[in-house]
């Protein structure tokens, strides 16, 4: 059972229904957002940061999804992994890459820039300062603005995973049949 009951549009004031409508214009409102809606002003800013990150990170859509999925994998977040798989496939990320993400280091499916990004994501999620060699490799492929946005994107999803955990969002919500790669390790 979730920590708080999910809300729907009708539970919000007219002012905050506009926030809901803004979110719904992108697709069905996700279960976690229906809980964050208890504080609609926070929901609005949390959502808008996510939009900026998703749309202005400086990566193409498949690569951005690859990054988000690696973060979900590292955090072992079933809800986010299952929410993301259909979106990633829809924007052209291959099933083969998704299936290889758990062991990207030994896969030959990923380009040098993808490998630099995945190594960086692993270091960011791991916490603390990132080795200079990992940062230098990122700087070979990405401008400063993208390096920054990749960093925040990873941390934003890390925040989201912690939030989903504490809110007790159903890990099967949305796409419960999707297998979880960490369960096979």
């Amino acid at each position: 059972m979730t920590l708080l009951p999910p809300l729907d549009r009708g539970d919000l004031t007219a002012e905050h229904q506009a926030v809901w409508d803004e979110i719904a214009s992108y697709g069905p409102v996700a279960p976690k957002l229906k809980i964050i809606a208890h504080h609609p002003d926070v929901l609005r800013e949390y959502w808008r940061l996510g939009v900026v990150l998703n749309e202005q990170v400086g990566l193409d859509a498949p690569t951005m999804n690859l990054l988000v999925m690696r973060t979900s994998f590292l955090d072992r977040n079933a809800y986010c992994w299952r929410q993301r798989v259909p979106k990633a496939l829809a924007v052209g990320l291959s099933r083969a890459k998704i299936d290889s993400l758990a062991n990207w280091e030994i896969s030959d499916l990923f380009s040098p820039s993808e490998r630099a990004m995945l190594a960086y994501a692993d270091a960011v999620v791991g916490g603390g300062e990132v080795d200079d060699a990992v940062v230098d490799e990122m700087k070979r492929y990405f401008p400063s603005s993208t390096l920054l946005a990749i960093t925040i994107l990873v941390l934003y999803y890390n925040l989201s995973h912690r939030l989903v955990d504490v809110l007790d969002v159903d890990p099967a919500a949305g796409n419960g049949d999707e297998p979880l790669p960490w369960e096979a390790l």
């Binding site: 920590l3 708080l4 009951p5 809980i35 964050i36 208890h38 504080h39 002003d41 926070v42 609005r44 800013e45 949390y46 808008r48 940061l49 939009v51 900026v52 990150l53 202005q56 270091a123 960011v124 916490g127 603390g128 300062e129 990132v130 200079d132 940062v135 400063s144 603005s145 390096l147 920054l148 946005a149 960093t151 925040i152 941390l155 934003y156 890390n158 925040l159 912690r162 939030l163 955990d165 504490v166 809110l167 007790d168």
Partner: protein
């Protein structure tokens, strides 16, 4: 030994495109522009969205400002964030947080300095920062003492601080000591 420089340059207002300078001015209107903001300025759209979430979680969590500071400082302790502690301590003193509470914070669960609401929120903070499951008793206490809006507000507040600390570490951003 000189600490390593930040991963990205710390920008100033003049480095931003003119269209983005009003964002800087809005931030500066609230006080000195912090080093972590100067690094975020490498991506002005991101700076604005990140800062705006911070304003919302800091200004509207639905709990007293002094409690916000206690939770912020507690998160710094848990994350071992010297940067966060240095930045937060100045604000906490300015807003009148009881120095005895700050001194007792690292062992709050054995201290008598905190009231019942603060104790529940500090326990919630410890769970959030550690990504530990919430015990049934803590869930019940949260529900009894706080409205859903406050629970979401505090959860996002603490997790935003955790995100800040990780960002500062990754970017090798150093605190400004005064």
């Amino acid at each position: 030994m000189t600490p390593a420089p930040a991963v990205l340059p710390l920008l100033e207002r003049i480095d931003l495109p003119s269209a983005a300078q009003p964002i800087w001015d809005r931030i500066a209107a609230r006080g000195p522009v912090a080093p972590m903001i100067k690094v975020l300025a490498n991506h002005p759209a991101l700076l604005e969205a990140y800062w705006q979430l911070g304003v919302e979680v800091n200004d509207e969590p639905g709990i007293p400002t002094t409690t916000v500071h206690l939770l912020g400082l507690r998160t710094c302790q848990l994350d071992q964030s010297e940067y966060g502690w240095t930045q937060r301590l100045k604000k906490a003193h300015a807003d009148g947080v009881d120095p005895a509470k700050i001194a007792a914070l690292d062992d709050w669960s054995h201290s008598t300095a905190f009231d019942d609401d603060e104790r529940v929120l500090l326990a919630f903070t410890d769970h959030l920062a550690a990504r530990a499951p919430l015990a049934a008793s803590l869930r019940a206490e949260l529900g009894e003492r706080f409205a859903p809006r406050q629970i979401v507000g505090v959860a996002m507040l603490v997790l935003y601080y955790v995100m800040n600390h990780k960002y500062v570490d990754v970017m090798k951003i150093r605190p400004v000591h005064q």
